[in-house]
C-alpha cells in the first residue's frame, strides 16, 4: 500500500486548498478588471464613413460644440449634425474633397450619412443631456477631451457607478453653464476653488441629482 501514496501526498489537500484560493483570487481579479464597462466600452472608436476630425473642427477652428450638436441644451438627445451643417462650410471649403463624398450625397438625396454611434446606454437607463448642460455639467465629464480626438473614442465608462459618483458629489464637477463647452476649462484656483464654487452652485440652484433607482430607471 505504501507504494501507492508517497509521503508527499499528505500535503496534497492543503496544497489544493491553497491553489483554489489563488485561482479564486485570479478569477475575481480578472472579472473586476475585464467584465465592467471600464474595459468593455472605454476605447471604442469605430471607423466612421467620413473621417471627421473633432481636433480640427472643435479644437483648431474653435467651433462651439453646439454649432453642430445644436439640440444638446434643448432636448434629452444630443443630435448628430445634418449634412447641411457640414455644407455650410464645405460648399466652399474643400468642396471637391473625395473624403466628403458621403456628405454631399446625403445633402443632395436627403438620406442620412451612416455615422456609427459611439456612446449608447442600455435602453433601460434614462439619460437627458439638457438637464446636465443647464446645470453646468461639461461635456468633458462624460465624453473626455473630444476636442483632441481625431476619431471619437469612448473615453469614460458611462456605467451606473460612474453616473452615481457624480450624482453623490455634484459640487466636484459643476461649473458655470456658459463654460460647459470649454473642455479645457479648469477652476483657476484648483480643486479647492472648484469645490467651494460647486457647493455654492449646488445650494443656489438647489441641485439634487437623482440617486434613487426610479430617477434613471423609469
Amino acid at each position: 500500500m505504501s507504494k501507492l501514496f508517497p509521503k508527499s501526498a499528505n500535503r496534497l489537500p492543503l496544497q489544493i486548498i491553497v491553489y483554489l484560493f489563488v485561482l479564486g483570487g485570479i478569477v475575481t481579479a480578472a472579472t473586476t478588471y475585464y467584465a465592467t464597462p471600464k474595459y468593455t466600452r472605454v476605447g471604442y472608436a469605430p471607423v466612421q464613413p467620413v473621417p471627421f476630425s473633432h481636433t480640427l473642427h472643435a479644437g483648431n477652428l474653435g467651433l462651439d460644440c453646439r454649432y453642430c450638436h445644436s439640440n444638446v441644451e434643448k432636448s434629452g438627445h444630443s443630435n448628430i449634425p445634418t449634412a447641411q451643417t457640414c455644407m455650410n462650410c464645405h460648399s466652399a471649403i474643400k468642396a471637391n474633397s473625395p473624403l466628403l463624398e458621403p456628405v454631399r450625397l446625403s445633402y443632395e438625396s436627403g438620406n442620412p450619412v451612416p455615422w456609427v454611434n459611439v456612446h449608447v446606454l442600455p435602453n433601460y437607463a434614462y439619460f437627458n443631456h439638457s438637464v446636465h448642460i443647464a446645470r453646468g455639467v461639461s461635456c468633458v465629464e462624460c465624453h473626455g477631451r473630444i476636442d483632441q480626438m481625431d476619431v471619437v473614442r469612448h473615453a469614460k465608462p458611462l456605467s451606473m457607478g460612474f453616473c452615481l459618483d457624480c450624482h453623490r458629489e455634484p459640487e466636484k464637477f459643476i461649473r458655470s453653464p456658459e463654460l460647459v463647452t470649454k473642455l479645457d476649462w479648469q477652476h483657476p484656483e484648483g480643486v479647492k476653488g472648484q469645490i467651494e464654487q460647486g457647493k455654492k452652485f449646488v445650494h443656489d440652484w438647489n441641485v439634487k441629482p437623482p440617486q434613487s433607482c426610479s430617477g434613471c430607471h423609469r
Partner: protein, 206 residues
C-alpha cells in the same frame, strides 16, 4: 503542483495577451456582458429602423401638417414681413429688447455666426483663411440699411451661398441675433461721444 501553477500562469498571460488592457482603442462594438434588456424594441432619436422604407426612426411631418401650437400666424414674428410683404423695420413687439436679449444674442452669435462673420461682424471669421472669401462685413452700407426683417430672413432662409440657420435658432433666438448684429453695427460707427462718462476712465479717454 509546480506544473499546475505554471499552467495557471500561462493561462493568465494568454488571457491578458488576448484581451489586452483597459482603455485600448478598439474598432469592434463593445461587448454586452448580460444583454438581457439592453436593446429593446423601441425607437430612439436618429436611430435606424428596419420598418420604414427610408430606414430611419425620425419621421418627417406629412405635407401641410401643423403641430399643435406651431401655427406661426404672426407673419412679422416668424417671417420678418409686414402686412404688404415688405420687410419689417425694428424688432417685433412680441420680443422685448433688453440686456438679456442682447446677452442671448451675443452668445448665439458667437456660436453660430462668428466662425464666418467674425466676432466683430467684419466678415473675418476663422473660415476666411480657409477659402470662404464671400463672407461680407456687416459694416457695408448695403447691410447697414437693410431692414431687421431682411436680416431675420437671411438667418431663416439663407441668402445666396449662405445656407439657412432656422434649424439651429428658434425664432426668438434669431431676433436676439438680429438685435446683436445691430449692436455690432452701432458699435462700429460709435464715436467718443457715445461712451458713457462713467466708462471713460477705463478706456483711457478723457
Amino acid at each position: 503542483m509546480r506544473y499546475v501553477y505554471l499552467t495557471t500562469f500561462f493561462v493568465v498571460v494568454l488571457t491578458v495577451g488576448v484581451l489586452g488592457f483597459r482603455g485600448c482603442t478598439a474598432t469592434k462594438p463593445p461587448l454586452e456582458v448580460f444583454p438581457d434588456m439592453d436593446r429593446q424594441g423601441k425607437y430612439r432619436p436618429q436611430a435606424e429602423s428596419a420598418f420604414f422604407a427610408d430606414g430611419r426612426t425620425d419621421r418627417p411631418l406629412p405635407m401641410g401638417v401643423v403641430a399643435r401650437g406651431d401655427l406661426r400666424a404672426d407673419v412679422a414674428l416668424y417671417q420678418g414681413k409686414g402686412p404688404a410683404g415688405e420687410w419689417v423695420r425694428g424688432i417685433p413687439a412680441a420680443i422685448t429688447v433688453d440686456a438679456r436679449l442682447l446677452q442671448r444674442g451675443k452668445e448665439r452669435y458667437t456660436i453660430y455666426c462668428a466662425p464666418c462673420h467674425g466676432a466683430l461682424g467684419d466678415g473675418n471669421g476663422i473660415t476666411k483663411s480657409y477659402g470662404m472669401g464671400a463672407t461680407p462685413s456687416y459694416h457695408d452700407d448695403r447691410i447697414r440699411i437693410q431692414a431687421e426683417g431682411e436680416l431675420f430672413n437671411t438667418i431663416t432662409n439663407g441668402k445666396a451661398t449662405m445656407l439657412p440657420y432656422a434649424d439651429k435658432l428658434e425664432p426668438s433666438d434669431r431676433w436676439a441675433v438680429v438685435a446683436y448684429v445691430r449692436a455690432l453695427q452701432r458699435a462700429r460707427a460709435g464715436t467718443v461721444a457715445d461712451v458713457p462718462a462713467s466708462h471713460k476712465a477705463e478706456l483711457g479717454i478723457k
